[in-house]
Subunit: 199 residues, 2 copies
Amino acid sequence: MQRENLRRSNRERTDATRAALMAAARALFIEKSYAETATPEIVAAAGVTRGALYHHFADKQALFRAVVEQEAAAVAAGIGQATPDTKNARQALLDGGLAFLSAMAKPGRTRLLLLDGPAVLGRAAMDEIDARHGARTLREGLEAAMREGSMKPVPLDALTVLLSAAFDRAALSIEAGMAREDVVETLGALVGGLFPPQP
Amino acid sequence: MQRENLRRSNRERTDATRAALMAAARALFIEKSYAETATPEIVAAAGVTRGALYHHFADKQALFRAVVEQEAAAVAAGIGQATPDTKNARQALLDGGLAFLSAMAKPGRTRLLLLDGPAVLGRAAMDEIDARHGARTLREGLEAAMREGSMKPVPLDALTVLLSAAFDRAALSIEAGMAREDVVETLGALVGGLFPPQP
DNA sequence: TTGCATACATACAGCCTGTATGTTAATTAA
DNA sequence: TTAATTAACATACAGGCTGTATGTATGCAA
């Protein structure tokens, strides 16, 4: 009856157990927040014991970090896939932004990446995480636009961070019920304002 | 020895105890985050017992909410004080933004209002809190600018939320070590972009 | 001054996290 | 192939924390 586990290599068992833990944790963290989710619940949902959890992850926070990291990678993948980058810089930026909003529309991602993530891991850690995954997209888009000369020259790091914050809040607001079209129009105005009209 | 408390009215005792609890909690929440601060620490720092805490606040989260509310009010007061609103709409917006950044520079405010607040109380609750205190400033500034006709017409709610997010992240970034002048310049470009050049 | 409400202090129950210890199966060395 | 080692768990335990229940003393109102 338990035999299903027996004839698997260690590597397979590890992968399966970690995946089960991360899936269960993800669902609960989304449903009830990190703080209100207890490890006994997680392991029950994953069908393992707390021993397995603490064997594979240093502590509850490490499990959370793994989930967040996986989610950030998924968002980055969603954006990268939807960006054929064959247009002018301004349009590419907006298209990337829309892809970001679509990716963030998957339920729970805003809570993991924008609410609990910064509080549990710290903003510096979150910055590092999405610098490693997605944020390059935005930064490179802005850099390209500035080099091409169509955009006002402003400090690149600061602009990346501030626009990123606006897109983050855009995702949050849409999830909270604000009209997506209004949010998108406003993002367009914000980004468009950085491109002076051609004489 | 304990006599200092005895000859005070109930109202005075309540005020003093609540203030002591909130001050102690504020310091610890800032130093170590909400999650890592235990109520025994708080009451020890405040010089009372947990009985007093749970007499005056429903639970730990209610104490946190009171601290956050107080802090939001302080920020709003700081902004309101520094805004003589005698200039054009665009300059008034930027001045208000600078006042916001100065107010948020007080140590710990970013953690309370921008990191732990949204995670512990939820973004909806935070929105409601600073709608009740500060956010009106920004919203009204934008509304004035749009009515005056100098600013592009965009959905007001969306613009308020997105610019607010940018200012929030600006405060966070400055605290994290980013050059304030770069951040301010970029905010100026972002806001300025919403004002089309006069022909 | 008598009775009730307020402002606490103390004690307790349940839960949660992280660690220590034990057991079985897979891997590696001989 | 077998012996030794390590990985992958499961179980038991120690401390700490939260919220509640209960007890007590002081302010206040009649």
